[in-house]
C-alpha cells in the first residue's frame, strides 16, 4: 500500500490548461473520492496518476517515488474503467489472470490468484465465459476482479458505476466499500455522483473547472461548504440559495422579506450576501424540527409537492425565488396552500454574493 501525493500538478492540451496546479495528499489505505460536474478535470487528474495522460507540470508521487515519466506498468496501480474495458477475446479467467501472465508469474500462482479474486467477487461460476455473455453488473465485477488480482499499491476507479442501473449501483457501492474494508488499500475514485462520493469516501475532493474547491470528510463538506458551489453540489436536493443584503442583524431579501443573520458569520451592514439553507432545515411548523433559540418563521405558498414516501418535498416561493422544503410526516398538501415554515438558522450558511465564498468566521 502507498500514499499518493500531487504537487502543483498541471495538465495542458496545447495552450488550453484543464487542470490548474493541484495539490493533494492521500494517506496510505485512504478511500478518496474526486467528485465534480463533467469537465471539471477529475478524470484527467486520475489518468495522470495512472500514467495514461502526460503530466504538463508538477509532480505525482506514489509511495516515495516520483512517477511523472514512468509508464503505467511501472507504477504498480490498477484501474477500473467506466466501460469496464474487458478484453472481449478472452474469457473471464483469462481477463483476470492477464496482468499476472504479463508479469510472467507461474500458471499455478495465476490460477490461485484468479480463484481467490473470483471467490471474493462471486465470479467462480462465470470464469469460462466471455465478456460478451455477461450482464452489466457481472462485467463490472470482472473489471474489479482484474484490479484486485495484482495486489497493487493504489486502486483507481474511473466512474465505475455510471453504466449500471440504479438498483445495481446501490448494490455495487456496498460491494466496493466492503472490498476496501477487506483489502485496506489506497483507493482513488472518480465520480460525478455526489451520493456515491458521500457514501464511499473517507475524504471527498470536490473539483470544478480544474481547481480543487474543497477537501474534507463527507460530513465536513456537507456541513461546512466553503462556497456556494460545494453547497449546491453536495447534498440532495441542492441547497436553496437566496440573494439578500445585510441590514444590521437582519438579512433583507427581495420583496422585503427579512430573516435574522445566522449565528457564526461575520457580516457588515449593507453587504450583499447569498443565504443558503438546505431543505432539511426548512420545514412546516410541527414537523419534527426542535424548538431552539435560532429559529425563524416564514409563511410561504406551496406550488408543488413531490411525495417520496417517508417524506414529502415541498416547492414554495420565498422572496421571488423557488425554495425546496421537507415535510417529515407527510400529509396531502393542496397546491397553493399557505403554510408557516420554520428555518433552523444555526444550520444555515452565508456566502459572499460576489465570490460565493463562505463568510463563516
Amino acid at each position: 500500500m502507498a500514499q499518493v501525493h500531487l504537487r502543483d500538478v498541471v495538465k495542458k492540451y496545447g495552450p488550453l490548461e484543464v487542470v490548474h496546479s493541484i495539490n493533494l495528499d492521500i494517506a496510505d489505505g485512504e478511500f478518496v473520492v474526486l467528485v465534480g460536474p463533467s469537465g471539471c478535470g477529475k478524470s484527467t487528474t486520475l489518468r495522470m496518476v495512472a500514467g495514461l495522460e502526460g503530466i504538463s507540470g508538477g509532480e505525482v508521487h506514489i509511495g516515495n517515488r516520483v512517477v511523472n515519466d514512468l509508464p503505467p506498468r511501472e507504477r504498480n496501480i490498477s484501474m477500473v474503467f467506466q466501460n469496464y474495458a474487458l478484453y472481449p477475446h478472452m474469457t473471464v479467467r483469462e481477463n483476470l489472470g492477464f496482468s499476472l501472465k504479463i508479469a510472467k508469474q507461474s500458471q499455478a500462482d495465476i490460477d490461485k490468484a484468479v480463484d481467490v479474486a473470483a471467490e471474493i467477487l462471486s465470479l467462480t461460476p462465470l470464469l469460462d465465459r466471455k465478456p460478451g455473455a455477461l450482464s452489466g453488473g457481472q462485467r463490472q465485477r470482472v473489471a474489479m476482479g482484474r484490479a484486485i488480482v495484482r495486489h497493487p499499491e493504489v486502486f483507481l476507479f474511473d466512474e465505475p458505476l455510471s453504466n449500471l442501473d440504479a438498483k445495481l449501483r446501490t448494490q455495487m457501492r456496498v460491494e466496493i466499500k466492503k472490498l476496501h474494508q477487506k483489502l485496506k488499500s489506497t483507493i482513488i475514485y472518480v465520480t460525478h455522483d455526489q451520493v456515491e462520493a458521500m457514501t464511499l469516501a473517507d475524504r471527498i475532493v470536490i473539483m470544478r473547472d480544474g481547481h480543487i474547491e474543497q477537501v474534507g470528510t463527507p460530513l465536513d463538506v456537507f456541513e461546512n461548504p466553503v462556497n456556494t458551489f460545494v453547497g449546491t453540489f453536495i447534498g440532495s436536493p441542492p441547497m436553496n440559495l437566496l440573494d439578500g443584503v445585510v441590514k444590521g442583524f437582519e438579512l433583507e431579501f427581495a420583496g422585503g422579506t427579512r430573516l435574522p443573520v445566522p449565528p457564526g458569520y461575520a457580516t457588515q451592514d449593507g453587504q450583499a450576501v447569498t443565504f443558503g439553507v438546505r431543505a432539511d432545515n426548512i420545514m412546516p411548523v410541527g414537523h419534527a424540527l426542535p424548538r431552539g433559540e435560532h429559529m425563524a418563521e416564514v409563511e410561504m405558498a406551496v406550488d408543488l409537492t413531490e411525495p417520496l414516501g417517508t417524506e414529502t418535498l415541498l416547492f414554495a416561493t420565498l422572496a421571488g425565488t423557488e425554495v425546496q422544503a421537507k415535510m417529515l410526516n407527510p400529509r396531502p398538501v393542496q397546491s397553493g396552500e399557505r403554510m408557516t415554515f420554520q428555518i433552523m438558522l444555526d444550520k444555515c450558511h452565508l456566502f459572499d454574493a460576489e465570490t460565493g465564498a463562505t463568510l463563516r468566521t
Binding site: V66, D69, L70, P71
Partner: protein, 288 residues
C-alpha cells in the same frame, strides 16, 4: 530519477525512429508516381539520356501538346479515349449504384432464407479473375454483337462493380437505425417515400463513396477492356496506353502524359472520399 530519465530518452528516440520510418515509407509510395509526372514534362531525349540527367534542364508541355493534337508518333486519339472512359465509367457507375442500392437495402433491411449463402455467392462472382471471364465473355459478346461498343463494356463493368457496391451500401444502410424509416412511415410516408426522404439522405455520403470506388474500378480496368474493345469507338484510356508501344520502342514521355491525365480525376475523387471509404469498409466488414 534514473528510470524517469531513461523513459524520457526512450520516448524521444522512438519519436525519431517513427519519423524516419514514416518518411521512408511515404517516399517509396510516392516517388514512382511523381517520377511519372516529372517525366511527362521532360523531352524524350532527356528521359533516355545516358548517363542520366537528374536535375531537369528543361520542362515543357510537348508531350501534352502532341497528345491532344494527335500528331504524336502514331497519332494516339487521346481525347476520344478520354471521352470513352468517361462515358463508360460514369454510366456503369450510376447503374451499379442503383442496383447496389436496391440489393444493399434488401440485405440490410429484410430477413430471408439463405441470406448468408446468397451474400457469399454474390461475393464469389467477384472472385472470378478478369482474364478467366474475358474469354467466354468475348465469345458471348461477339455472338450478341456488342463487342467494341460502349454498351458491352458498360454491361461488364456494372457486373464487376455490383457485388462490391452491394457490400458497401449494405454496411451503410445498417448504420441507419430502422426506427428512422418507421418514424417516417408513421408520419405518413409510404415505404418508398421513407426510403428516399429519410434513409437515403442519411446514408448518402457512404453511397457516394461506394460510387467513387466503382468509378475508379471502371476507370482503371484493363483485362476486360483489352478484350472487349477493338477500335477508337470504344477503347478506354488504360487500353490506349498500349498505343504508345510499338514493336520495339516505347514512347515513355507520351505514355507518362496520358498516365497523368488518367490519374488526375482519380486523385481528386480519392481525396474527396478517403474518409467515407474507410468508414464504409469498416461497417461492411466488422458489423457483418
Amino acid at each position: 530519477m534514473a528510470s524517469n530519465l531513461n523513459h524520457r530518452v526512450r520516448r524521444y528516440s522512438l519519436k525519431g525512429l517513427h519519423f524516419f520510418g514514416l518518411f521512408t515509407a511515404m517516399m517509396v509510395l510516392c516517388v514512382p508516381g511523381l517520377w511519372i509526372v516529372l517525366n511527362s514534362f521532360r523531352p524524350t531525349v532527356e528521359i533516355m539520356a545516358k548517363p542520366p540527367v537528374w536535375i531537369p534542364n528543361e520542362l515543357n508541355l510537348d508531350h501534352y501538346r502532341a497528345m491532344f493534337s494527335g500528331i504524336g508518333e502514331g497519332g494516339v486519339p487521346v481525347l476520344t479515349y478520354f471521352a470513352n472512359s468517361l462515358v463508360i465509367s460514369v454510366t456503369s457507375t450510376v447503374i451499379a449504384l442503383l442496383i447496389g442500392m436496391a440489393g444493399g437495402y434488401a440485405f440490410a433491411r429484410y430477413k430471408f432464407n439463405f441470406k448468408g449463402g446468397m451474400f457469399v455467392g454474390l461475393m464469389v462472382t467477384r472472385a472470378v479473375p478478369g482474364v478467366a471471364l474475358s474469354l467466354p465473355l468475348f465469345i458471348l459478346f461477339a455472338r450478341v454483337g456488342i463487342i467494341d461498343t460502349h454498351f458491352g463494356l458498360i454491361l461488364a463493368y456494372v457486373a464487376l462493380n455490383v457485388p462490391f457496391t452491394i457490400w458497401l451500401i449494405d454496411g451503410f444502410f445498417r448504420q441507419v437505425p430502422p426506427e428512422l424509416a418507421e418514424a417516417a412511415e408513421i408520419d405518413g410516408c409510404t415505404r418508398w417515400q421513407a426510403f428516399w426522404r429519410v434513409e437515403f439522405p442519411v446514408a448518402r455520403a457512404g453511397i457516394a463513396s461506394a460510387g467513387i470506388f466503382a468509378f475508379l474500378t471502371s476507370w482503371n480496368e484493363y483485362a476486360l477492356a483489352s478484350q472487349l474493345t477493338r477500335s477508337t469507338t470504344s477503347k478506354t484510356m488504360p487500353v490506349g496506353l498500349l498505343d504508345f508501344t510499338s514493336e520495339f520502342t516505347l514512347n515513355w514521355g507520351g505514355m507518362c502524359a496520358l498516365a497523368v491525365l488518367m490519374i488526375i480525376p482519380a486523385l481528386i475523387l480519392t481525396f474527396l472520399v478517403q474518409k467515407h471509404l474507410i468508414a464504409g469498409l469498416t461497417f461492411g466488414g466488422v458489423k457483418g
